[in-house]
């Protein structure tokens, strides 16, 4: 808890820094701001109190709180500290980014988790060639909420797609070539990703050396990527994406991924587990549109070929309910433990189903209030019609500060993806400061 108090004090103190700067005269440009130093240090601190409105009948509530029932709401305080540093000399560069998550709730007490998000060295012998080695996040794909072609990345959270993500240890190269004519740019990014004990062991099967690659083309004013990954830690996969501005205010994009022998564990109606293996095709199509009055609309349809069908999800929720009833009548927890194991795997992931629609409206600076952006995000499971609806208010008017308030309403019938989530709603305030 003391850490949170320090964090809050630091943030309040920092709030006065922009006010000191504002006292300077008009139109001054201090050229010292343009001097380049070989090193850089910066960071971000965040304080995020959250209030969960619990759904006592939901499968995921029962899984988590079966032996410790809660009231209607559960408050939680979250903090985040990200530190970033780099050192550059001639064509060499070192870059490090750390992330520390802090959590405090009356239920679980305090918890802290620190990790290097990225830590790599770069060699750039020319503007056409760069070689990186270390821990790095590549973030392939053109989709806003989902990226089925992000073969060497961790899954993105569609609830917060712009969050920084932890990378994997890899060696990678960027080779770039520009042309005159319809093909303006070509680039190739080969990737070597080892998976051994203590090296990327969360990625997939151990003792494998994986190879991936991306070819990029700017062809007829359209971004086109082709990518692949092979090596055995995960099933082989191939894919592509594109993005293009149709007019000055209208963009279209899409992704397609083909995964050979995708494996998943499913439950039948009786709760029997089985592993199935089949080729899976995932794809996404989306648009981004801006009106004359600065309303940005993002719409994406996502088909998750490796996801669970409506019936497979229903069988899982039924399994959880049977395990919970068994615990209540006999005190046995083995079935609940088994259900928890499945939840820690694919069943508990966000976007575990097959077909989704993502719609986001954000209105920039309404009523001439600069740096204020209200938005509304709707994520709908098209198969079971369950959804989350998230109104959001964002204000960035104080230099280096970002304040966001939002409430996610999570709704759906019983035995649907969002209907069986732990919460009926989630209210959160996020106050972040960059330095």
């Amino acid at each position: 808890m003391r850490t949170f108090i320090y964090l809050a004090m630091l943030m309040v103190l920092s709030l006065f820094l922009p006010a000191l700067g504002a006292a300077e005269g008009d139109y001054t440009f201090d050229l010292s701001e343009t001097e380049k130093k070989p090193y850089h240090f910066g960071g971000y601190v965040e304080f995020k109190p959250v209030l969960f409105g619990l759904d006592h009948d939901a499968a995921f509530y029962k899984l988590r709180f079966y032996n410790d029932p809660q009231g209607q709401t559960l408050p939680e305080a979250n903090g985040r500290v990200q530190l970033e540093g780099s050192y550059e000399k001639e064509s060499y560069r070192l870059y490090v980014k750390t992330n520390t998550d802090l959590k405090y709730s009356s239920l679980d007490g305090g918890a802290e988790h620190s990790v290097f998000y990225e830590a790599y060295g770069s060699l750039k012998p020319s503007s056409s060639l760069k070689i990186d080695a270390g821990k790095k996040a590549l973030k392939w794909g053109k989709g806003y909420a989902w990226n089925p072609v992000a073969f060497v990345d961790r899954p993105k959270d569609p609830d917060d797609p712009e969050l920084a993500m932890e990378g994997f240890i890899m060696a990678t190269t960027d080779y770039i070539k520009s042309f005159d004519g319809p093909l303006k740019t070509f680039s190739f990014t080969p990737v070597i990703l080892p998976v051994y004990d203590h090296i990327n062991d969360a990625f997939g099967n151990n003792n494998k050396l994986n190879f991936a690659g991306r070819f990029y083309f700017l062809l007829y004013d359209t971004d086109i990527d082709l990518m692949f990954m092979t090596g055995g830690s995960r099933p082989d996969r191939y894919g592509g994406d594109f993005s293009r501005n149709v007019t000055t205010n209208f963009e279209i994009h899409g992704e397609y991924a083909y995964v050979r022998y995708a494996r998943k564990t499913i439950l039948d109606a009786s709760g029997n587990m089985s592993a199935v293996e089949a080729d899976a095709q995932s794809y996404l199509v989306g648009i981004r549109h801006l009106t004359a009055f600065d309303l940005t609309t993002i719409v994406e349809y996502y088909h998750n070929g490796a996801g669970f069908s409506d019936d497979e999800l229903k069988n899982y929720f039924a399994f959880v309910n049977r395990a919970y009833n068994l615990y209540q009548s006999t005190g046995k927890v083995a079935a609940l433990a088994s259900a928890k194991n499945l939840a820690d795997g694919a069943y508990g992931r966000s976007s575990a189903g097959e077909n989704y629609l993502y719609v986001r409206f954000s209105q920039k600076e309404p009523f001439d209030i600069l740096y204020f952006t209200p938005s509304l995000t709707w994520i709908l499971n098209l198969d079971d019609r369950s959804y989350s609806l998230t109104p959001e208010l964002l204000y960035t008017g104080f230099t280096n500060w970002e304040m966001r308030f939002r409430t996610a309403f999570i709704a759906g019938a019983r035995n649907t993806e969002f209907g069986e989530k732990q919460n009926d709603y989630r209210m959160e305030l996020r106050v972040g400061y960059y330095f």
Binding site: A164, D174, S178, D221, F250, D368
Partner: protein, 242 residues
Amino acid sequence: MLKIIVVVLSLLVALPVYALDGTALLKKIDRNLNPESFESYRKLINIEPDGRKKEYTLFTIKKGVDKVASLFLAPASEKGRSTLRLGDNMWFYIPNVGKPIRITSLQSIVGGVFNNSDILQLDYTAEYDVEKVEEKGGEYLLFLKAKTKTVAYDRLKIWADKGKLLPTKIECLTEANMLIKTLYFKDHKDFGGGIVRPAVIETDSPLYKGYKSVLIYAKVKQRTFKDEVFTLTFMPNLESLR
């Protein structure tokens, strides 16, 4: 007879105006504003009606008529973000998001009166045709029409100093001649290397009453770049060019 003489004399006086090659004039204005390939530092200040300011510092590079890239150096919340323009294509790179996303010319990634096409301005000749030129005292008035529908403003009216061949004021208009914003070019400064240009551009807009945005230029200097630095893949590495 007297009437004929007056008409002939009037035509002779008027002829230099009609003889003006608008495109050549605009090309000259483009070159006087910036070398064809250059780097610069810019401070962008958004000023609200109550006087509150928000400032951004950018490192900008340009090559040819249609390649521009900018890197945000300050404030800390924006540091490392970069923008790239290749003709009608524009992208925005946010380090957290980790990949460039396509943006449009009418959006504004910094808020305030400047939009993306103002910040990533190409040569005017790359985007506009000169419809006509008028002489207004010590200034030329150029009427420009966008070459394609993908250009941010359908029409521009440029007032340019006759002697310096540099703009003093630009009005940005819709196809129906509705004023979107006005740019005021001020504070002529010698940046060295033969580059003498306005160091300050102010803008206001009837759409943002009471708001003002300002661009201040520093360290403008001629520099050549390889085409490869104006690519999506290079966007995260723009800092290495400083």
